[in-house]
Symmetry: C2
């Protein structure tokens, strides 16, 4: 095979994934040829998956967790909405799910796949779910309510306990999407996890801030009964019944998630969160000093209203930079994003902008 360059992370400011931790990379390489989707055949990695779920339970304070390692946050979000729909299937003809407007686009995929109406509620002025706006969209056909703990565009955390109460009142499933934020939030003051609120299901992805290799998403549920409506028979496997969305799955992702969490939970993740948060705040200040409007980085993610032409110039200089829906430049301060890199961005801004 020719050797095209694989990913060079030095200038990637746009991704919610990162260079895996060395232990996670080593584990992924050793388990490349295993399939946790066939636990009867691949027993070792099936054991590791149980450990991954237990570790995710520690991170999210769920004592007896059920769940599995998904292909990513999208699968986890789809499956949560599928649970919400399936468990009410006999009672609700035209199910809807109420989400705050910043819910990830995977919920749009879920809605299309599952023929569920997605109701998007406007945010409050601080880019968080607005409880009244959410409540106004809930009705008798609402089967699920979603809260976001670390939004994709601004890193915002919704009022999770309030949303949990809203869901409970509506007798709807309450799902929290902490795909990106889940490995930073334990070190913040936010109320977001299973101990803070009546959360039914949660997405939390080891392959984002968890520093595992792709693909390692996570879906957790408070009760194993929630998975019952997802099972399909698997006639030819050594096991029977399968609740996952995919069939063959990546043992590399599972082993990598376990290795990363063994290595980094809790102190390693705390250290990284503190580094990244401080760096994000510093970068935000530097941008403000240059006269740009900046959305306050309440998690390690900076959105700033750079002119379109400036964003283009930075991209031409090699920076992988994405934009929010409103057009702000968006920098995700992942573990591979260093102070040196952000200093260079500022220098390029000063020189080129």
């Amino acid at each position: 095979m020719q050797r095209p360059e694989p990913q060079e992370f030095a200038r990637v400011l746009s991704s919610m994934c990162t260079e895996p931790h060395p232990a996670a990379r080593a584990a992924a390489e050793r388990f490349l040829a295993t399939n946790p989707g066939d636990p009867g055949t691949y027993g070792t990695v099936a054991d590791l998956e149980r450990e991954a779920v237990d570790l995710l339970g520690e991170v999210t304070r769920l004592p007896d967790p059920t769940g599995y390692v998904t292909s990513g946050g999208t699968e986890a979000n789809i499956q949560a909405i599928r649970i919400a729909r399936n468990r009410t299937r006999d009672a609700v003809d035209r199910p809807n799910v109420v989400v705050p407007d910043h819910a990830h686009f995977s919920f749009s995929k879920a809605a299309d796949l599952l023929s569920v109406e997605l109701r998007r509620a406007p945010l409050d002025e601080d880019y968080r779910a607005d409880l009244d706006a959410m409540a106004a969209l809930v009705d008798a056909d609402t089967v699920g309510v979603v809260g976001v703990a670390g939004s994709t565009e601004y890193g915002r955390v919704d009022p999770i306990p309030d949303l949990a109460a809203l869901a409970e009142e509506a007798d709807a499933l309450f799902h929290v999407d902490a795909a990106w934020g889940g490995f930073a939030l334990p070190f913040t003051e936010y109320a977001w996890d299973f101990a803070d609120a009546a959360v039914d299901t949660m997405t939390i992805d080891p392959h984002k801030l968890g520093q595992a290799a792709i693909p390692a998403g996570g879906l957790l549920a408070r009760s194993s009964a929630l998975f019952d409506t997802l099972a399909v028979d698997t006639p030819y496997l050594e096991s029977t019944g399968q609740v996952t969305l995919t069939g063959t799955r990546s043992g590399a992702g599972v082993a990598s998630a376990v290795a990363a969490m063994r290595e980094l939970w809790a102190d390693g993740y705390r250290t990284e969160y503190e580094r990244a948060q401080a760096l994000a705040e510093w970068f935000a200040d530097e941008l403000r000093e240059r006269g740009y409007d900046v959305v306050d980085p309440t998690l390690p993610l900076v959105a700033a209203a750079l002119p379109e032409a400036t964003i283009g110039t930075l991209r031409e200089a090699g920076w992988r930079l994405s934009k929010t829906g409103s057009g702000e430049a968006r920098v995700v301060v992942m573990p591979h994003v260093t102070r040196g890199a952000l200093t260079s961005v500022l220098a390029d801004l000063d020189r080129l902008g």
Copy 2:
């Protein structure tokens, strides 16, 4: 990390996955930290994915292929059924899909997810789709017809051109599931691919007989327009619009698929098919000589009516052996399954059986 043993393939007779080709493994390791789901950020692996699709087009004789590398056959099958449903959404209220009874259980998942009725037609006496039985289930609400090219339990190939004609008559999408068989069938006499019949979409998985690392499934479509109904907006990515089921995806799988196909297409796959087919036929003969009923291995997969107790004894001896829905022992002659291993199985049978 402690070092539990990863998979030892020497005694695995039950899996449709295998040890990746060394070139495929090396490529997977190099691209572990890339995400083809975000092509604006991860450009190199996005280019590789286009090459993967082109190579899959060569294998399946589709000159101008569209498609992508999926998380596996399940995602590809789900997406095909989603296309079938979505493109007729305005015209059909209660869509159904007609499949032969041996269709993989991922079609049951697809039916549940997509709220599509799955109609399973009984097989003929040779374990292939029965055209009359399939036709009897087709009606005005049929949006898809599925043919299997290499069935999971017996390795059978359905009459693909006849099923294509049936689908065409019904104005339904015609999908072929060649997830496992796709890298063996080019070297057989079967009519199964895009040049043989009016196939609209096909599942063909590099991470099975293609010898790529997990996760690398494949979905191909004759026309890019078929994907149009799947697109959702992706506000914060550098690209816009996404038709895949998952979001973040595995660059390792993509790079690995390209490396395997560059290395093995066509002669390497032919050599392996010929080896495996000869071995399957030899093993079937050996079992027949011992008095067991054997389903004729028309692809490299042997199903034999061993007594339940014998299967248990072989499993206790360490053989990873699965069973068909009817209870036969099932041996998939993948690249890692050697003549030496099958000779040992026979020796164990003679000694323990």
